[in-house]
């Protein structure tokens, strides 16, 4: 699965999530509190391997692939996390994506993070 260009391939697994007709592939590595990393380049194999690798020592790193044709990225992300059953997560968003203003209020209204 891992592209030959990525120096330190994300370990663990590739799986997918379906919400309605929309399928989102993602990579997962590490364990601990969930960190969702959105990537500049929309390819789970080529994304921010370095950052993800760094984080996966301490966290459960989830790197989704933004499916084509998603209009409301906030709703997509909310559904994606709902489908994984993740109630609270830290979300890392690259500037290039231009969705820094994601309305993520529902993700952090519940107070403190899970251990």
């Amino acid at each position: 699965m891992s592209s030959p260009t990525s120096p330190a391939p994300l370990t663990d697994v590739v799986a997918e999530v379906r919400v309605g007709d929309l399928t989102t592939r993602y990579r997962r590595s590490g364990s601990g509190r969930p960190v969702v990393v959105l990537q500049p380049s929309n390819d789970v194999d080529a994304g921010w391997p370095h950052l993800a690798d760094l984080l996966s020592g301490h966290c459960r790193v989830i790197v989704p692939e933004l499916p084509a044709g998603v209009g409301d990225a906030a709703a997509w992300l909310r559904d994606f996390l709902d489908a994984l059953g993740i109630e609270r997560a830290t979300v890392v968003i690259p500037e290039q994506l231009g969705i820094a203003a994601l309305d993520l209020a529902p993700l952090d209204t519940s107070g403190d993070d899970r251990p």
């Binding site: 697994v13 709902d82 994984l84 059953g85």
Partner: protein, 960 residues
């Protein structure tokens, strides 16, 4: 392990992998179902995710049901009660009916049970053991190439290849429909109207289309109108939402709805609901009255409280076989536990739960030592299995005090044995014993006895003896001679099997001495005598062995102790074999096998099969001898009891001789034998045993084919209209030849289905509640008996997977011929053919009574009975009408009387009969017939005859 239920087989029966039953129908979800049915198996791991109450389980069940036909097997594993991830795999194995095997990792047992079958495994409620589920799913999918898994979990398993599928909210029309349906359950007069429509839509939107939340809200319509519910929800939720958002994340919507619903409960119900959450699985009212009573609730309040909670959809009522049981939805249970903890009542309530089930187990234990003699006690324990398991695990882990844990494991051995759950038994017992500091000596002693018995069952005789020897001094101070007697008897068994015959004899004699004055049917005495007889075989004292074994046989008969009887008969067979009496051995073993199969005793079956294997070897039936010896070995592994058959040394020698005789063929036969199912082994053994008894000579298929003369066929006659009669040649088959009514029933059932029936179809008609394993066993025993009773194995043939009665051997079957001839006669009548009336009359004469009248047969026969009766009655009416039209009133009256004899409320026959009598000038007869009819109508139906009959009656009366 002498008298006891079989392990393994009982386990499979207790946990039949049926889909869970939901009392209310699934509303909406058509689109989702179509999508899921299409998806299942494509990603081999499909996980339905979503917040609690979103309907994951419901949807998984409907999906499993829809796709079931494209799988060879569907197994449903409910994980909601699994507290400890280490029991996940054993739990899956138990649901699959794959019993533990000593020395085999549980995961391998599960992999072995699934193999390459195209199977759908549903893992329901994975969230609290999500990591363990992820590991298991990964391993199983790798090892079982055609397995598909459907999981439900709040959290995705997040393993490679998984598709997590978010259960969407209900579509708004479906949500409305759900609200209305549930509201009508609470208030039957509730309707969806233009005036309440907007409020209902608002509620459903507010509740994010979460099914459970909608149900909880709808359950309130008895007290609140939809408008009021909508307003109150609005108030309740406003506090929880922040900023500009009006919606809550889904998991919080449900939580808020539960808070709201809980807040509306009365004070007593608010006390009760959280306490009910301590039950695992379902619970009885009696248990709730003990466990949940306490400030401010009296035991008498519990019924009202539970009923009120049922009304509000917070508790689910399950109508069981005998008594009603109750259950909390998992989401509600979790909520209740949180509330209970907040209130600081968790520990006290848990303790009451533990104590209640401890006392229940201790009360039941004495009846279980006798094993299958108390099936109702065992069934009751199985019903409470989830609660017992939870209470026992809690007691064993309870640090402050060793007592409850020791008492639990001390009382549970025979239940574990019946379920074949030795791994769990070993873990809990060791844990309880490791914390026994300060435990009472007697409690420690009993727990050690359990430990020793587990070791004995698993074939570790040294450990078993050591634990018995540690236990006995601790028990000396108690006055419990029964436990001491059982311990001594089993210590003797451990010593004997461990090879120390002399010590075993001393111990067993000590046990017999201790219980000398106990009642004859004392189980410790029966155990001790059984093993003393076995020891006598080892010593070569056949006379003593025989005497002791026969005493137990007699006790088994006198006190109706099937396990004792079966085991002792198998023992008699071995003793007779040692004395060179093949015929007596075979007679005893035939009876033993029939009993063992009937009660599903795996160990008893094994020792009986052992005896036949030795017979076959001695009588030079080398092929079957190898198949049996190999099959017994595999069967023993399946039941997970290492305890050997009576003479392990003889077995080894027999195998060596057979290997020498058969040479290269040995290995293939051995492999073939190992692959046989237990029921197939039993069939082979019964055939072999029958060969050496004078009573029934069973002819094998090949011999039969070679010598069956054509003239000998067509000699079976079956008369089923009226009391059943079966003839072979001119001789009626004696009732004693059948052993029970079931083989006769099978005969008629197969005759009614000339196209043949599969084992499964027979199972559904005959043993609808039995597990697949039981059906297989029962079927083969019944078939064996049928063939034996008819004296010819060829009377039932197998084509593909269908069993058929051999039409070539059938001379007459009245029910079929009746239908066929009747159709021909009525056709002739219609065409006004000559002699048609006589043909019909002679046809009807065959009807001696209702189909299978007086036979104890299953419901399958009812439709045939009714159809045949209707045919008979309709034809008689037709015949009567013909006679009446031909002015043959006597004959017509006769026909109508026969109708009334069959169906005494048949109005048309009454009117026609009255007319006949009137026509014959028998006015008073006609009036009497009417009077009698009117009386029956009144007493049976509380009704009066029709106007037509009454008018006729009045006319006849006036014509005086």
């Amino acid at each position: 392990m002498q008298p006891s239920e079989s392990p393994g087989i009982a386990a499979a029966a207790a946990a039949a992998p049926e889909l869970p039953v939901h009392l209310t129908r699934l509303v909406g979800r058509e689109r989702e179902l179509a999508d899921l049915a299409h998806l299942v198996g494509t990603p081999r791991l499909l996980t339905l995710t979503g917040a609690g109450g979103s309907g994951k389980t419901r949807l998984a069940r409907a999906t499993a049901e829809r796709v079931a036909s494209s799988f060879e097997r569907v197994a449903w594993v409910d994980l909601s009660l699994l507290d400890d991830a280490q029991f996940l795999v054993p739990h899956v194995a138990a649901v699959l009916g794959a019993p533990e095997r000593t020395g085999v990792a549980p995961l391998d047992v599960v992999v072995g049970a699934i193999g390459s079958a195209r199977m759908l495994l549903v893992l329901d409620n994975c969230e609290h053991v999500v990591d363990a589920c992820a590991d298991v799913a990964t391993s199983l999918l790798r090892a079982c190439p055609r397995l598909a898994i459907l999981a439900t979990s709040r959290e995705a398993l997040a393993v490679a290849g998984e598709t997590a599928w978010l259960v969407p909210p209900l579509a708004s029309t479906d949500a409305t429909q759900l609200f209305v349906e549930r509201a009508q359950m609470a208030l039957p007069s509730f309707t969806h109207s233009p005036s309440n429509g907007p409020a209902i839509a608002e509620i459903c939107r507010r509740l994010d289309g979460i099914p459970l939340a909608i149900e909880l809200a709808a359950a309130r319509v008895r007290v609140l109108s939809p408008e009021q519910i909508a307003r109150r929800l609005d108030d309740a939720f406003r506090l929880l939402t922040t900023g500009t958002r009006t919606a809550l994340p889904r998991h919080r919507t449900l939580r808020a709805t539960m808070d709201w619903s809980f807040g509306l409960l009365g004070v007593r119900e608010q006390q009760l609901l959280p306490r009910l959450a301590v039950f695992s699985g379902s619970f009885s009212l009696e248990a709730a009255e003990v466990v949940c009573a306490g400030d401010p609730l009296d035991a008498d309040d519990i019924l009202d409280g539970v009923s009120a909670l049922v009304d509000k959809s917070l508790v689910i009522m399950e109508a069981g076989d005998t008594a009603v049981r109750y259950r909390l939805l998992e989401t509600v249970r979790q909520y209740g536990l949180e509330r209970l903890a907040e209130r600081g009542e968790l520990d006290a309530t848990m303790e009451r739960h533990t104590r209640y089930f401890l006392e229940f187990v201790e009360r039941s234990e004495p009846s279980l030592i006798g094993g299958s003699n108390a099936p109702d006690v065992f069934a009751h324990l199985v019903t409470e299995h989830d609660n017992i398991r939870a209470a026992c695990a809690r007691a064993v882990a309870y640090a402050p005090c060793a007592e409850p844990g020791l008492r639990f494991v001390g009382a549970l051995f025979w239940f574990w044995y019946a379920l074949g759950q030795f791994r769990e038994a070993r873990q809990l017992t060791d844990r309880a014993l490791s914390e026994r500091e300060g435990g009472d000596a007697v409690h420690c002693g009993r727990a050690l006895v359990t430990s020793a018995l587990i070791a004995l069952a698993q074939g570790d005789y040294a450990l078993s003896s050591a634990h018995f020897e540690n236990a006995l001094p601790l028990l000396r101070d108690s006055s419990d001679d029964l436990t001491i007697g059982v311990a001594l008897a089993k210590l003797g068994a451990a010593q004997l099997l461990g090879g120390d015959v002399a010590r075993a004899v001393t111990t067993l004699d000590q046990a017999l001495e201790l219980r000398r004055d106990a009642p004859r049917n004392d189980i410790a005495r029966i155990f001790a005598r059984f093993w003393r007889s076995w020891a006598a075989v080892a010593q070569g004292d056949h006379a003593l062995a025989r005497e002791l074994a026969l005493t137990n046989v007699q006790l088994g008969r006198d006190y109706t102790l099937p396990t004792t009887l079966g085991h002792s008969l198998a023992l008699v067979a071995h003793v007779e074999l040692a004395r060179g009496n093949t015929r007596e051995a075979c007679e005893a073993v035939t009876e033993a096998l029939e009993i063992e199969v009937a009660i599903g005793d795996g160990w008893g079956t094994a020792i009986a099969l052992d005896a036949v294997a030795l017979v076959a070897e001695q009588r030079r039936n080398a092929g079957d001898a190898v198949r049996l010896l190999a099959g017994i070995e595999a069967h023993r592994e399946r039941i997970a009891v290492a305890l050997p058959g009576i003479a392990p040394a003889e077995r080894t020698q027999a195998i060596e001789r057979l290997r020498a005789t058969l040479g290269v063929r040995f290995d293939a036969l051995y492999a073939e034998g190992r692959a046989l199912a237990t029921s197939e082994l039993v069939s082979i053994a019964l055939t072999e045993a029958a060969r050496h008894t004078t009573e029934h000579r069973v002819v094998t298929g090949t011999m039969l084919a070679a010598r069956r003369p054509a003239s000998a066929t067509r000699r079976i006659r079956v008369l089923a209209l009226g009391p059943l009669q079966v003839f072979v040649g001119d001789e009626p088959v004696a009732s004693s030849a059948w052993s029970s009514a079931r083989p006769r029933e099978l005969l008629v059932y197969l005759l009614m289905h000339p196209e043949g029936r599969t084992k499964e179809q027979v199972g559904l008609a005959f043993w609808p509640d039995a597990s697949t394993a039981q059906v297989r066993n029962n079927f083969h025993v019944t078939l064996h008996r049928l063939r034996k009773a008819l004296g010819d194995a060829e009377c039932v043939t197998l084509t593909g997977d269908r069993y058929q009665m051999n039409a070539e051997m059938l001379a007459e079957f009245d029910a079929r011929e009746f239908e066929r001839d009747l159709a021909a006669a009525r056709f002739a009548m219609k065409r006004q053919q000559e002699g048609a009336v006589e043909m019909l009359a002679s046809c009807l004469a065959r009807y001696r009574g209702d189909f299978l009248d007086g036979e104890p047969v299953g419901d399958w026969h009812l439709e045939h009975r009714d159809r045949l009766q209707r045919l008979y009655v309709d034809s008689l009416m037709e015949l009567g009408a013909r006679y009446a039209a031909a002015e043959r009133q006597e004959k017509a009256a006769e026909a109508y009387r026969r109708v009334l004899a069959r169906d005494d409320l048949h109005e048309d026959a009454l009117v026609a009969l009255m007319r006949c009598h009137a026509g014959l000038g028998e006015r008073s007869q006609a009036l009497r017939v009417y009077q009698r009819f009117a009386d029956r109508m009144r007493t049976e139906l509380d009704a009066a005859p029709t106007r037509e009959a009454t008018r006729l009656f009045e006319r006849l009366q006036q014509s005086t």
